[in-house]
């Protein structure tokens, strides 16, 4: 926290417009719009993938063709025209760099604007970065240090080349191709993403971090992430993203699969700050993400997310608690402002005995936005002594926004203990006046109240991320009251 002062915050608050709204002119190689088997094959070829991978993609594409876009989420938007999207875009030269000096200076400047200068990140945080600009990894750092521990952290494209046996074994095992419309689409056309493997008994010594960025006008972003924590291992994975402001809607349909084998633990943290559209609700990213983790015996998966961006969000990081004594956690802050719409939550599927899950969801709605929590707690017949605790809190700002909670509970074992708590509150003028009276201006007062409201979740984030998340919350709600 020491790095971040209130002066920094003040500077941040001065920026009324989306502050990461700039565009980097890196020459791209972009496929023509549209999607068919040839495009799927071309993507696979472009990436020099083995035959099995190409076939896997084609299978997904065929499944996808017969599926329809889901309309059950509590969001309204114009459905994307999937034939008007280009499904591949890569920076035109993609040499692998050993040092940052070799990286395209324009790209580095982009990172600088984002405040994530690799150099600084490397030194300060001990964070290894697998940076994804558009769809292809351009720089991978700390790989060597990680390699000494046997940890594999690379782009999924590289992993398909270098560790096909691991990818083949786990890809699609948690989120199968046919899982849902967007997962199928992603499986067919995923451009790149990250792969991480932690060997047996290894505790990953640093936070693994990926920064995503959508960079080409009209290019869908289809990231694929696969994290495998072998028996008794531990990893903390950070995912954060920003995007340039743009008028047309940008589609993002990522898939993240986590596999925690026996006694393993995965902590997966996300700060999502994609372009939410302007104050009239024009533009903004569509974020339709499938995130799911599988826990074997005694394993634990913890999802923490701070969602401030995107025009439309549709996202349910989930845990399948397959093994006995497995633990699933979901901590979420979702902020919507202006015309943003978010339908987000989690699914906790209890299959094993003595499985435990915790859900803490904090929704903050401002402007004319709609914020929905949707969660499922499912206890299977053989899940003896399963326990769940859910807490869903909503904070409203102003009179034109909405907060909705859709909790689903299915318990098929009588020994289950399920608790659900929910609150809805509003930032009151009395709270603001109280702060004002103590010399705290309204903007700062809102930040204080919102941070207090979100504290339980912010505390779950790694320190560096917590600072960033706190700033994001404040920026996202800037000007929403008064």
């Amino acid at each position: 926290m020491s790095k971040y002062t209130e002066d920094d915050l003040r500077e941040e608050l001065k920026t009324k417009e989306y502050e990461y709204g700039f565009y980097t002119d890196i020459e791209s190689e972009t496929f023509p719009n549209g999607l068919n088997e040839d495009i799927v094959r071309a993507i696979s070829k472009k990436k020099e993938e083995p035959e099995w991978m190409t076939e896997w993609r084609l299978e997904a594409f065929r499944i996808w063709q017969d599926m329809t876009e889901p309309d059950w989420p509590n969001v309204n938007y114009e459905k994307p025209d999937f034939q008007a999207i280009s499904y591949y875009s890569a920076p035109n030269s993609k040499p692998k760099y050993d040092s940052l000096d070799e990286v395209d200076p324009e790209l580095l400047a982009t990172f600088e604007k984002l405040g994530i200068s690799l150099d600084e990140q490397k030194k300060l945080a001990g964070v290894a970065m697998d940076v994804v600009v558009d769809s292809v990894s351009v720089a991978t750092t700390f790989k060597k240090t990680l390699a000494e521990k046997g940890i594999i952290f690379m782009s999924i494209s590289e992993a398909i080349q270098e560790h096909p046996e691991l990818v083949k074994k786990y890809l699609g095992t948690v989120v199968p191709q046919k899982d849902n419309f967007y997962a199928a689409l992603n499986s067919a056309v995923f451009s790149d993403g990250s792969f991480c493997y932690i060997p047996k008994g290894v505790k990953c010594p640093m936070e693994l971090s990926t920064y995503f960025r959508i960079n080409q006008a009209g290019t869908g972003q289809f990231e694929r992430t696969l994290v495998v924590a072998d028996e008794g291992s531990y990893v903390s994975y950070l995912e954060g993203c920003t995007a340039p402001s743009r008028d047309e809607n940008q589609l993002h349909a990522a898939v993240v699969e986590l596999i925690a084998l026996e006694d393993a633990e995965i902590k997966y943290s996300t700060v999502q700050n994609w372009y939410p559209g302007n104050s009239e609700g024009k533009g903004g990213v569509y974020n339709f993400v499938t995130k799911r983790g599988l826990c074997e015996t005694n394993a634990k998966i913890s999802w923490t997310q701070v969602e401030t961006g995107s025009a439309v969000t549709w996202k349910y990081p989930s845990c399948v608690l397959k093994g006995d004594n497995a633990v699933g956690e979901f901590y979420s802050i979702a902020v919507t402002n202006n015309f943003q719409q978010a339908d987000t939550g989690t699914k906790m599927i209890h299959l094993g005995k003595n499985t435990k899950s915790t859900i803490i969801s904090k929704g903050i709605s401002a402007g004319k936005s709609q914020n929905s929590y949707r969660g499922l707690v499912q206890i299977s017949p053989r899940a003896e002594n399963a326990r769940n605790f859910s807490q869903c809190d909503s904070l409203l700002m102003g009179n034109e926004c909405g907060a909705h909670t859709f909790p689903y509970i299915e318990a098929k074992n009588k020994s289950a203990q399920i608790e659900h708590e929910a609150t809805t509150s509003k930032i009151g003028e009395d709270q603001i006046f109280y702060c004002n009276q103590r010399g705290i201006d309204t903007e700062k007062a809102i930040a204080l109240i919102v941070n207090g409201f979100s504290k339980e979740v912010l505390n779950k984030l790694p320190m560096e991320f917590a600072v960033e998340a706190q700033k994001l919350l404040e920026i996202s709600l800037e000007g929403s009251v008064g």
Binding site: E6, Y434, C435, Q437
Partner: protein, 250 residues
């Protein structure tokens, strides 16, 4: 220090203050008493700058400067402090974090750097000891689940931390048992100096046994109908307000 001239204020077109005049000098303690609904809390809120109230006439001068147009936080920066009758809860924000923010925002407004952490801690320790506040209390969420007495003690703790020029205590004695009342009153007395002033708003004379006022004003129907010394409070305690009503009507 605080001069109020012919102040008229209303909320939603309902006139509440109907021509208040007050002159408070540095080093003085003024008590404002009066029956329910006479406008005591409104007066406190208007001076503090609550937006719900409209000032229709008159002026509020702080050190000769008209503060009518200033926002509540700007008035706070100039040293106006209001101890609330009903302090609000802010879940997840600790007492320490809140007061730290308040102090640093005020310093920032004056062009000062943030107070160094060690200095802040020292100040917190000193003031919490003075008010016999348990250290554990400081890490609790602001006013959340506080008893009436804890809330009031916390208000005075904040006052002690902020060292205001003008402190308005709105019904600070309500909800306090006799021990808490004494602690709070002692706190206020220790903070008193020749440079600051205190306005005590209260129903009862009880608090004034501990915080002895130089002037007592009786507020009725939005007007100060009688002023006097500390003895006036005793008279009110003994005789109630009716005799003043009669006096006014006569």
């Amino acid at each position: 220090m605080l001069k109020i001239n012919n102040l008229h204020a209303s909320v939603e077109d309902k006139a509440i203050l109907r021509g208040i005049n007050l002159d408070i000098k540095p080093g003085e303690v003024h008590a404002i008493m009066g029956p329910n609904g006479s406008g005591k809390s409104t007066l406190a809120s208007v001076v503090a700058g609550k937006e719900d109230y409209e000032v229709n006439e008159g002026e509020i001068l702080l050190d000769g400067e008209n503060i009518d147009e200033l926002g509540a936080e700007e008035r706070a920066h100039k040293g106006v402090f209001l101890s609330f009758q009903y302090p609000v809860e802010i879940p997840g924000v600790s007492v320490t974090n809140f007061i730290k923010t308040a102090i640093n925002e005020t310093r920032k407004a004056k062009g000062l750097e943030d107070m160094p952490a060690n200095e802040m801690l020292k100040l917190i320790r000193e003031k919490s000891q003075m008010l016999e506040i348990d250290r554990k209390f400081l890490s609790r969420s602001l006013n959340e689940g506080f008893s009436g007495g804890e809330k009031k003690r916390n208000e005075i703790f904040q006052m002690a931390m902020l060292e205001p020029k003008l402190a308005i205590l709105d019904e600070t004695d309500s909800g306090l048992d006799i021990d808490a009342l004494r602690i709070v009153a002692n706190g206020v007395n220790k903070l008193k100096s020749k440079d600051n002033a205190v306005v005590v708003i209260t129903h009862y004379q009880r608090l004034l046994d501990y915080i002895v006022p130089d002037h007592v004003h009786v507020l009725m129907n939005g007007k100060i109908v009688k002023s006097g010394g500390a003895e006036l409070a005793h008279e009110l305690e003994a005789k109630g307000y009716d005799w003043i009503k009669e006096e006014v009507n006569a």
